[in-house]
């Protein structure tokens, strides 16, 4: 959540149901029924009001694959596959899926009888149309859809082929790529404001104000009603954390993301705090081959840089205790996490100086880092600590609009940053492979590239072994300078409950339930 998404059927029946829900909600009805053990909650009905920290879009293809945008998109569109609360991938709007050993072909069998909220069939042609649209929609997930060749084999069978191995494809189908927009929406005059999906809820435009409050009401035709207990969900945009906290304390919202600075006040008010490790904080040593700053091509210099940070103190002071010390870009439960190397690069200025001297850079060197308002928050400590080994770091102030192009274009040799963590393969593809977005200089070595290629296809114990090798390589060669994992903090009031979802600061919608 460091930085900066978007439905119809047998009209009469749907409208009756929606109206009934509205009347009941207005009357402040208490729970209408109870579900059995099959449901995720004991109580159903009512409204969940969620404070959200960033705006959402009605067009699934332009929606964020994280945070509030992802939750909102999932509520209207659902996804072909989905994550369970323990992080495993299971079928959802698709009944089953298989992927070949080469990870170049994924076959989906769609669930029979599923329809979009406008009553049209949720079939293979619709899936193909939606994913093909996503390729051209310029949304954040367009690059993930770009290499996918989708074909509708029959009404309920979809094949997705890729030229190269893509072990992440099932994960993509849990995110925006798997949120399918109805053919009617794709043909609509304004595709961005006419959401039609097959998700558990439908968008209630009359009760919503874009940029402020978004209301979704239960889709009576959703295939699994028990999964989602609430009749209505209201997403209220509250960009200020103080506003979210006061809204939680006064019962205006039931759940909302908070920050480390507001945790104590929230706990004091009796709110339940859900903590999820979603991000690592530290630096990307992008110029790890020394193309711009030759000193950074020397592994001893990169190792020295890793030793100048007092990680414990940073967790205490910067994260206010809401995090864990780490030196790795992978979370502790990741296949790539090296528990045996967690104490590599402990804080030791003398040893760092010695390494700099051994590398022939005792007098240090200079480099520039970007200063992006609201994005780069740890520059000051980075600059002061590197000064201790004679590395002079200057800041270049960037306007937000210029920032992405400059940063991702590899302009800066080192980048203080916080990046999300998901699965081992996700993290490798995001930050390590030669073409990775955050491998900003596209650095590659034959050894690491071979390991990354293997990681795409490996399964089971083989995968674990490959990822362990990648984790070791990155630590030995100090490609990054990780300081800690930061907790994403999510508060839940006494009337509600939710379960942490690995990799997401917002618990997924199917984990929420009513307690009162």
């Amino acid at each position: 959540m460091n930085d900066f998404s978007l439905n119809r059927r047998q009209f009469g029946q749907g409208m009756f149901a929606v109206s009934l829900m509205g009347i009941m909600a207005a009357a402040g009805c208490s729970p209408t029924s109870t579900t059995g053990a099959a449901g995720p909650s004991a109580l159903t009905g009512g409204t969940l009001t969620m404070g959200i920290d960033s705006d959402v879009l009605l067009n699934a293809a332009k929606s964020q694959s994280a945070g509030a945008g992802q939750l909102f998109s999932q509520s209207i569109y659902g996804t072909l596959l989905r994550f369970t609360s323990d992080g495993t991938i299971v079928p959802n709007l698709a009944e089953s899926y298989t992927q070949n050993a080469d990870k170049t072909l994924l076959t989906l069998k769609l669930r029979a009888g599923v329809v979009f909220s406008d009553g049209t069939a949720f079939d293979a042609a619709a899936v193909k149309g939606s994913i093909d649209y996503m390729k051209t929609a310029s949304g954040p997930d367009a690059p993930r859809a770009a290499g996918l060749e989708v074909s509708a084999k029959d009404a309920t069978t979809v094949e997705i082929a890729t030229k190269e191995a893509n072990g992440l494809l099932p994960m993509f189908l849990c995110l925006s790529v798997g949120s399918i927009m109805a053919p009617a929406q794709l043909k609509a005059a304004n595709i961005d404001t006419t959401p039609i999906g097959a998700g558990p809820y439908t968008y209630d435009a009359t009760s919503s104000t874009t940029g402020s409050s978004y209301t979704v009401v239960k889709n009576p035709k959703y295939y699994d009603q028990k999964q989602y207990p609430y009749d209505k969900i209201v997403f209220k945009l509250m960009t200020d954390v103080t506003a979210r906290l006061s809204a939680l304390q006064t019962g205006q919202v039931n759940v909302a993301p908070l920050t480390a600075a507001t945790v104590k006040a929230a706990e004091g008010a009796g709110l339940t705090i859900i903590r999820t490790l979603t991000n690592w904080n530290g630096i990307i040593i992008g110029d790890r081959l020394g193309q711009v700053v030759p000193a950074l091509g020397n592994v001893k210099v990169r190792q020295a840089i890793n030793m100048v940070f007092d990680r414990e103190a940073m967790v205490t002071s910067i994260l206010q205790g809401e995090g864990q010390v780490s030196n790795q870009i992978f979370p502790p439960d990741s296949d790539a996490y090296r528990a045996d190397m967690k104490d590599l690069y402990v804080y030791d200025i003398d040893k760092a100086k010695a390494l700099m001297a051994e590398a022939g850079f005792a007098d240090g060197f200079s480099c520039e880092i970007p200063l992006i308002e609201g994005f780069t928050t740890n520059n000051a400590i980075f600059i002061s600590q590197l000064k201790k080994i004679n590395i002079t770091v200057t800041e270049k102030k960037l306007e937000f609009a210029q920032a992405f192009t400059a940063v991702l274009g590899g302009t800066y040799p080192i980048l203080p940053i916080g990046l999300e963590m998901r699965t081992a393969l996700w993290d490798v593809v995001q930050s390590v492979t030669p073409g990775a977005l955050w491998n900003v200089k596209h650095a590659a070595t034959p050894e690491l590239s071979a390991l990354c290629d293997k990681a795409q296809k490996a399964t089971g114990a083989d995968a674990k072994a490959v990822f362990q090798d990648i984790g070791k390589y990155l630590l030995d060669n100090a490609w990054f300078g990780v300081w800690n994992y930061a907790n994403s903090i999510f508060a839940v009031d006494k009337k509600s409950s939710a379960k942490a979802t690995p990799g997401s600061g917002y618990p997924y919608l199917d984990t929420y339930s009513r307690k009162a």
């Binding site: 900066f4 009605l58 367009a142 104000t209 809204a247 006064t250 977005l437």
Partner: protein, 312 residues
């Protein structure tokens, strides 16, 4: 008077052209950066370039501005780059709230300023000194601190007013008024104190003039001397100050709307600026200039009524 209004309207049109053109040039000068922001951090360079051309950001800025202006004068501000919504719709759902907050605050500022300012000027003594201290404190404390203190005291603590959000007046007028109390008060603390000091200063100058003594010796009531004669002459600087305060209030709503999670223009300006949503941002700029122009026109008219020499 019509000629006076005509002159003011003509200068308002010029002001609008100047402001919108300068803002357009500033925000459009980094077209590729905007395309990158809209395409997302994970977009390939080719996708960014495609978005750049798709939005017409490759055209000369003057050509883009004239195209925008040609549609804007017909009331067509285009659609948001981000969510595809008509900008006129975005503005029509957000502007009323901001205008309401600013209008209510402005009226209360006028009433409180005049009352406090005259009281301080006439009574003097400890009351005057107390008001002076209050004005310094009111002006020195940032609005967001005032807002947070108000929320934690009257919403979270005493549960008298809602902590965030606004209830539409069509739904419940009472709740609507309640939800305006804290945001308006948060702005009012600074503006009323500043306005009161302005009126106090002007009144002190007027009360020392000979005509006031003459009026008093002729047995004119003190109320009439203060409110009919002295205030009329002291109003001009106060009105100018109020105009400046109104512009400052519009800026202040950015913070207040954020703290109270209010869907007004301030929030829209913030989001459109950070996302490079040029059509929506230009819509915000235009309506802000219109509001400022109307306020200034009203103040000019009031000044013209109070002092006919201003109309010359």
């Amino acid at each position: 008077m019509l000629r006076f209004i005509g002159k003011r309207l003509a200068s308002a049109v010029l002001l609008m052209l100047l402001v919108t053109s300068v803002v357009y040039v500033l925000v459009s000068s980094n077209g590729m950066g905007i395309a990158r922001m809209l395409a997302g951090s994970s977009a390939t360079q080719q996708q960014v370039v495609d978005r750049y051309y798709q939005l017409g950001l490759d055209r000369p800025v003057l050509s883009q501005y004239l195209a925008w202006l040609g549609k804007a004068v017909r009331g067509d501000f285009g659609t948001s780059y981000l969510n595809g919504e008509y900008v006129t719709n975005m503005l029509s759902t957000r502007a009323p709230l901001t205008i309401t907050i600013v209008s209510v605050t402005m009226v209360l500022t006028m009433v409180i300023s005049v009352w406090l300012g005259i009281t301080a000027a006439v009574k003097g003594g400890w009351l005057d000194r107390f008001l002076q201290v209050l004005s310094v404190v009111g002006g020195a404390i940032p609005q967001f601190i005032v807002a947070i203190v108000l929320v934690f005291t009257f919403a979270v603590g005493l549960r008298i007013f809602p902590a965030t959000g606004i209830v539409p007046p069509s739904e419940d007028v009472g709740l609507w008024a309640q939800s305006l109390v804290l945001p308006v008060t948060a702005i009012l603390v600074g503006t009323a104190m500043s306005g009161a000091m302005q009126i106090r200063g002007s009144m002190l100058v007027e009360l020392r003039k000979e005509y006031v003594a003459t009026l008093r010796t002729r047995g004119i009531s003190e109320f009439s001397v203060l409110y009919k004669h002295a205030l009329r002459n002291a109003a001009a600087p106060g009105l100018i100050g109020l105009g400046i305060l109104t512009v400052a209030m519009l800026g202040g709503t950015v913070i207040i709307e954020r703290v109270f999670a209010l869907p007004g223009l301030g929030m829209l300006v913030t989001s459109t600026t950070t996302t490079g949503d040029i059509p929506a941002l230009m819509g915000c700029v235009t309506i802000t200039v219109v509001i400022v122009t109307i306020v200034n026109l009203l103040i000019d008219l009031l000044m013209g009524i109070l002092n006919p020499k201003v109309r010359l």
